[in-house]
Subunit: 406 residues, 2 copies
């Protein structure tokens, strides 16, 4: 599919929206988060099964990126900066432990399997970065985003991204042979923190005033557009600072939360999200190649066994990180499970390793398996943890909802 | 720009949303419809000026198509089928006159300029099809969509598309040398009418029941998704029947209007429209190549003069068509002006003529000029007509609004 024409594009959207809704509702019926249904919809529609959605096609990639940006923007809008700051210390400890534990365990795993130093470092690095989209969506589906556990995971995900960036600089230097200088690391770190601090300090002063000024026009949809421009703008700047664009979108949401126009913006963004967010989760699912799971294909055996070990390491290490802030009064198991999902950043490390000849195809496949498994296993685990103790199951009201309205 | 990466995509969206909003508000300040500002934003961002928006890039093309589909869907939702039927006769006369007048005038113009028979037919045909997007948007901005003139233009645009389809079959047969058979024409016409009648008859029975059933789930965003699936589905079928996809989206809107969930669907669609619709008008503007207007370039002279004549023919003939239903009590001038804009279909005819060697580059350029001029001239003309007689100017409340809420 080189160039997509309009009818094919419409057919694809119909299938994405329809199957995601259907399986999302089905998942909810079975007591699972609907995001799990959307991921499955992606697997079914993806290249390795029906071949309707090609997650690598430009249009799918770009629309799904908008989806995850809108998701994190909406979650930022629902997040109170002060409340997030209050759990800052806890979040930092979770983030640091959540990088150190997987790295060390992954490194030991590889060394014990007789792999060279650099390979062990790359595999360790690929296990470090949490991908917050899945967790954030499950928390919001269940209306638990504002509880301490949700705040800690969100905060930890931001810090995690900054640490991930530093590791990326180091690993790229090591594998690329460009060398690692302290200046380079300091610049990277400074830029990332500069963005975060700058956005919050400057944004908190400017954004509410600009919003007040612009909202005087009272033209329908203006505030949604302005909000989108802010979110896309900060996502763009975050990317320029080396951070993930979703961090910028989340920061934009935090700033919108400080304005008097929060509700108006949220309204429009939620509606946009109903269209775009499922595209993201379907695209994630569509990236799964079911063929690698075929145990009858002996060529898969090494990958499957390596992948199995890596999945255990990935889950145990992040789960343990949730218990690192021993003073935290919230449920540490929820935080630990919330940190489990890995995503693109892990794949970026693995790809870098392959390109530099440090990772063999089996290890690359194992990292891919680990990313898939941690993505798919988190929603049901998290749901089970969040709704136990006889708490009311709100999920059935929350299907497809970005953020539960209070 | 072969493959667009995420940061470039975000930058493009920021510019589209920002400049369209800004010039839209500016146009409204000057008493013009905001859509004129969005078109100008497109010209400025387009390939021939700043080069930010390439209207031929896949992503721009697909997103802008979604924009015009959502616009016509929203307008369909606001349209009462019975009221539309009531003006059916008037609309049919306007549509038929609006095809015959431009065709005959265009044919005469070409013959009097010494052009061959087939060239005159292709030019005549390229003048026939009204592009309803611009007019619909202006009517909705001014809150005049439900008045008789608005209904007549909408009805005429649908019939116009069916007639355009028949002409296309004939002209394609003539220029392609494939011959024109009565069977072919009958099939085309039957399919188009079959789609319209079938959609309305079957849809009116089924859609409200399906919507009632699905709305019982009460999951946020479900009805918006279902509405989108219906709109995209009918757009897809319309395309398969040879009609413009927007006719299908409009029909879907008419059906949603018959359900009990109208407001819920409209809500979500309006929010989506705030994002997508400006992309359509910016893309239309970005398709304008300002270089052809340079009078210092003598190479442009023939095209400019031919274009000037064709613009006069295009405007006078459709304007006159508004007066064909002499019994109509509404303002015939409004209907006539509302029918003036031409769009893609005109360009399709011209392109077909070029491909078959029937149209020379000068005539093709002249058709392009005619499409641009009729697109840009209609919003201010229509606004002036619709707000004269001391009627209150509602436009400043309507900037960027898809459809004025009552």
């Amino acid at each position: 599919m080189d160039h997509l024409d309009v009818p094919h594009f419409l057919a694809m959207l119909i299938l994405i929206l329809g199957v995601a809704r259907l399986l999302g509702a089905g998942a909810a019926r079975l007591g699972q988060p609907s995001v799990l249904g959307e991921l499955l919809a992606g697997v079914i529609l993806g290249a390795s099964v029906l071949g309707v959605v090609d997650s690598k096609a430009e249009i799918v990639h770009l629309l799904s990126e908008l989806g995850v940006l809108l998701l994190l923007f909406a979650i930022g809008i629902e997040t109170d900066l002060k409340r997030l700051m209050r759990v800052g210390g806890t979040a930092a400890v979770v983030a640091i432990a959540g990088v150190v534990f997987p790295f060390v365990l992954g490194y030991i795993l590889c060394k014990s399997l007789g792999q060279p130093e650099l390979t062990a470092i790359v595999v360790g690095a690929s296990l470090t970065a949490t991908s917050v989209g899945i967790t954030a969506r499950v928390f919001s589906e269940l209306g638990k985003l504002r509880e301490p556990e949700g705040q800690v995971v969100l905060g930890a995900a931001i810090i995690d991204d900054v640490i991930g960036l530093i590791i990326l600089t180091v690993v790229a230097g090591l594998t690329g042979g460009g060398g690692v200088t302290l200046t380079k690391i300091a610049t990277t770190t400074g830029l990332a923190f500069g963005f975060l601090v700058g956005t919050v300090l400057v944004g908190r002063v400017i954004v509410p005033r600009v919003f007040d000024f612009l909202s005087r026009t009272k033209h329908a949809g203006t505030m949604t557009s302005v909000g989108l421009i802010l979110a896309f703008g900060l996502a763009w700047i975050a990317h320029r600072c080396g951070l993930a664009p979703i961090i910028g979108a989340f920061a934009a949401g935090l700033l919108v939360n400080e304005t008097r126009q929060t509700e108006e913006v949220e309204h429009g963004i939620t509606a946009l999200g109903h269209f775009f967010v499922p595209i993201f989760f379907v695209a994630v699912g569509a990236g799964v190649d079911v063929k690698v799971f075929n145990p009858f294909d002996t060529g898969n055996h090494t990958t499957l066994m390596l992948g199995g070990l890596m999945i255990i390491v990935a889950m145990v290490s992040k789960f343990a990180a949730g218990f690192a802030p021993f003073w935290f009064k919230g449920r540490k198991s929820v935080v630990g499970v919330g940190m489990i999902p890995r995503g693109e950043v892990g794949l970026i490390f693995a790809q870098m390793g392959v390109n530099q000849g440090v990772l063999n195809p089996q290890l690359f496949g194992a990292v891919t398996l680990m990313v898939m498994a941690t993505t798919f296993v988190t929603p049901p685990l998290l749901k089970r943890l969040l709704t136990q103790k006889g708490e009311p199951n709100k999920a059935e009201d929350g299907i497809g909802e970005l953020v539960n309205e209070p």
